[in-house]
Symmetry: C2
Subunit: 189 residues, 2 copies
């Protein structure tokens, strides 16, 4: 069953509000007000507040999971793989920064199987990233620094791009990607 236009509209408004104030601080009345309807009317389109969160978070998480699977199974060099992951994060950030903020800040408000599913995807993602880095170090493509520090420093930057994206729309997508790859891979010194 496809998501109707109106339902998608509700999801988009919710994502924007969730980003600004966090899931718990946003009320159904807040969402409704922006759409110029009453809170009860939202329930003609969505099952619950929870469902909105699930739809926002899980879709993005699955996209990360799917692209990561492609990358990790490819025959590219470790560096090329990392570059593709950087591009993935930038691409999604430019396309839907609100949903990305929800994924980062509000995932813990998922419940039961949705929460389990999300955590499994996130763990798999990090494991795959680690696999890429490990092979890169073994192959001599990547310096032999502490693996946790390497993984964290890159992933944390990519994951929080959404915070920063608005400020720098001067930069084109391509220029952003190029600079980010240089800074993350080659350092600044």
């Amino acid at each position: 069953m496809k998501i109707s236009d109106r339902k998608q509209e509700i999801i988009n408004v919710a994502a924007k509000l969730f980003k600004e104030k966090g899931y718990s601080a946003v009320t159904m009345r807040d969402i409704a007000q922006i759409l110029d309807i009453k809170a009860a009317s939202l329930y003609n389109h969505i099952k619950s507040k929870q469902e909105i969160l699930v739809l926002i978070v899980i879709e993005i998480a699955e996209e990360f999971t799917n692209v990561m699977r492609e990358v990790v199974n490819s025959n590219d060099s470790a560096i090329k793989k990392i570059e593709r992951i950087i591009e993935l994060h930038i691409d999604i950030t430019l396309r839907d920064s609100n949903a990305l903020a929800c994924l980062n800040n509000d995932w813990m408000h998922l419940t039961d199987s949705d929460l389990d599913y999300f955590i499994k995807m996130r763990n798999d993602y990090e494991d795959n990233f680690r696999t890429i880095m490990e092979k890169g170090i073994v192959d001599g493509e990547i310096k032999n620094y502490n693996l946790d520090v390497i993984i964290f420093s890159i992933l944390s930057t990519l994951r929080t791009l959404y915070i920063w994206y608005n400020k720098t729309n001067k930069l084109s997508s391509k220029a952003l990607t190029d600079n980010m790859i240089k800074v993350l891979l080659n350092g600044i010194v």
Copy 2:
């Protein structure tokens, strides 16, 4: 007026819960339950839920502000200044990761003058960081990549260290600092 032991205990418990679920999702009854008292009893020690958040966030923010002022006014090289900032973030993360999580995730729930004060401190902090980087580039210590990308990639890593800290307590404070400096400054390739 000093903060009493009991008050500090409340603040610490609150910070832990705020980190786990976010400010809005934590109730006064949640905080009280962990301390094995009733929610109303909290008000013998604190003025409001808001006050708890202010005490958590502002104190840490002021520490960042103060150390940054020292660093930026010193005669160190740009690289040495950056290293000192990295050490500052790691130090505070190891000392109080819960409060740091609040600062990152719940600052938007501050109100009025507290919110203004916080935002001013954060802007000043970023401006100072930018000043250090600009001078570093002019002096040829730092590569001439896009300034925004450089600033963001380093700051985002330092700011979200608290997410990651638990997982890697294998690493000593010194080893963590050394590796972080290497990765952030020299890159991984």
